[in-house]
């Protein structure tokens, strides 16, 4: 199937120097125009460094009033064109304004991608992650409920032990009003339950506090390292600091509420897109409560993937190794030649590249804007993101099959660990085709 219409600038030599491929699947053309237009729509973000196209080429494209990503239409290899995108956008808007939203329909629409400039992504993600119920009338009460729950969590769990002891005393009515009046010996009072700062008891709040500081330090380090190229997350501005603070709070709360899994490096990367999208909600009230919303959505999202983060489960049926094996199987099913070459001939163990793809939900493989689009598709899968994720990973491998087949261990590994940027909609299209194939 051929593209509908190829614009002049797409054929310029600026793009790949490769000859036009025979098989449509091997299309290497990597238009990075996606990022400049999106960054125009979402101002607080600095553009991640783009290797190729000078932005001026893109701005020449007439941007229709509704459609803010001209990138999508012209070099989307699937049959959808400009009109299709606009129609999908109106359909999404129509669906969202209904009183009771049809989740099935919403998922179907969202899996094709959520348009960027219209500010509906936060709401759609919240619906897809089942944070918001599909009955519109219940939204206000649900949100208020959840947000106050989050506030309570914070008050209970994010306080230091001095504060806790003070509160306990207050509630017990022991008000020790020792101030600087009068003189004499200061009265000594008994401590309750052996609670003192050097206590080594397991139930002592002080002891727990000090044990938590290790995790808190690790969370702090990872939060500071999240997306260092984006102004939203990193830098000295108070905006970035408050965002980092929010990320920190969410991760610390999650670690405290889930003692089985605590915090594992990488969770910050899974949280970052969620928080980013919610914080950039055009509705002010929603943006202000982005922290609370992101917390619950993060919990929901991670619930399907928890087992990947648990080291003890690595070798079990639900662990990361078995998921990687599933990916291998999927590749074998769809492209045996490539599978054989990777696993047997060049001996590239899928763990070397797929581990990061799967546990971090592809956030590290593509630039930020592209990963948001991938997440649109991932989150809209009614059976949970895992199957779609594996299909996308498989599609990623198939798309660069020519280079992989020609490479040996070192070059393949290098290629897979620094996945070349590609047309995301094409990638998603191929991944979708894989689904159809396997249900044959």
């Amino acid at each position: 199937m051929m593209k509908a219409r190829v614009p002049e600038w797409l054929n310029s030599t600026l793009w790949s120097s490769k000859s036009p491929p025979v098989d449509e699947r091997l299309h290497q053309c990597s238009p990075k125009s996606s990022t400049p237009t999106i960054s125009a729509a979402e101002p607080p973000r600095v553009e991640p460094p783009l290797p190729q196209p000078p932005p001026k080429l893109i701005i020449q494209e007439p941007s229709t009033p509704q459609m803010t990503d001209p990138r999508g239409d012209d070099h989307r290899n699937s049959p959808s064109s400009l009109t299709e995108d606009i129609s999908r956008q109106t359909q999404l808007l129509a669906e969202l304004s209904k009183k009771t939203i049809d989740m099935h329909e919403l998922r179907r629409l969202a899996s094709q991608g959520i348009p960027d400039g219209v500010g509906i992504r936060p709401t759609i993600w919240k619906l897809l992650l089942e944070y918001l119920p599909n009955d519109r009338g219940l939204w206000a009460s649900e949100l208020a409920n959840k947000r106050s729950q989050y506030k309570n969590f914070k008050e209970e769990l994010l306080v230091n032990p001095s504060e806790v002891t003070r509160r306990i005393e207050k509630s017990a009515g022991i008000e020790n009003n020792e101030s600087c009046e009068g003189s004499g010996l200061l009265p000594r009072s008994e401590i309750t339950h052996g609670e003192h700062p050097l206590s080594l008891g397991k139930t002592s709040i002080w002891n727990q506090f000090f044990q938590d500081t290790e995790i808190i330090e690790q969370i702090d380090r990872d939060v500071r390292r999240t997306h260092p190229d984006m102004h939203f997350f990193s830098g000295d501005s108070s905006f970035a600091n408050s965002n980092q603070e929010a990320l920190r709070n969410i991760l610390i709360l999650f670690a405290k509420l889930n003692p089985g899994i605590r915090y594992v490096q990488g969770m910050n990367e899974v949280l970052a897109p969620l928080f980013y999208v919610f914080k950039n909600d055009s509705d002010e009230k929603n943006a202000a409560s982005a922290e609370a919303d992101a917390f619950f959505c993060f919990v929901e999202l991670l619930s399907g993937f928890r087992d990947h983060f648990c080291q003890q489960l690595d070798n079990s049926v639900v662990g990361i190794r078995s998921t990687i094996t599933k990916l291998s199987q999927l590749l074998k099913e769809h492209d045996e030649e490539l599978w054989r070459h990777l696993e047997v001939t060049s001996k590239v163990n899928p763990q070397f590249y797929a581990f990061r793809w799967i546990t971090l939900l592809l956030t590290q493989e593509f630039n930020f804007a592209d990963s948001l689009h991938i997440w649109d598709t991932l989150l809209s899968d009614p059976e949970g993101p895992q199957d779609t994720l594996l299909r996308i990973c498989c599609a990623m491998l198939i798309l660069i099959r020519r280079r992989l087949l020609a490479g040996d261990f070192t070059s393949n590994l290098k290629l897979l660990q620094n996945y070349p940027s590609t047309n995301i909609s094409h990638l998603l299209y191929v991944a979708d085709k894989l689904r159809v194939k396997s249900t044959r």
Binding site: S162, N177, E178, S183, G184, L185, L186, I191
Partner: protein, 191 residues
Amino acid sequence: MVLVLALGDLHIPHRAPDLPAKFKSMLVPGKIQHIICTGNLCIKQEVHDYLKSLCPDMHVTRGEYDEDARYPETKTLTIGQFKLGLCHGHQVIPWGDLDSLAMLQRQLDVDILVTGHTHQFKAYKHEGGVVINPGSATGAYSSITYDVNPSFVLMDIDALRVVVYVYELIDGEVKVDKIDFKKTATAHSAH
């Protein structure tokens, strides 16, 4: 929430070999932010380095038996909203007398004065502020008496409030008490 450990009069190795084991098991690095030591550690190397390993921020004043002559006679530091003063106490005569110590406190212009030398835990308050004597952490005998319980003090400074936790080793068991102290927000006119 700042934890400050106050101890002194260890007299290692002359009068005591080491801190009691029960105290040592509680004092682990990573919990305490400051250590203030009234003096008379005696040998510098082992004791000083041990205390430094618990917390890098350590302040010591000179006791009359200290082997390191470079410690100062008095020291003041500010932690949170409180000004703390440190002095061994053998310079203040009569030893352990509240009024004389109050004089030293006014001289140093501090809210909490920490002194030692008597090897007895005491916590006084008067209009100027609070005087704390953490006692002897090893239970070494003093110039005055042989009957000394090992003790030290841990202060939890939190904005305008200090909670003083007193750790004493009585009959082989660690007993912990606490004392609450709030500073009134206005500066004292005494100075």
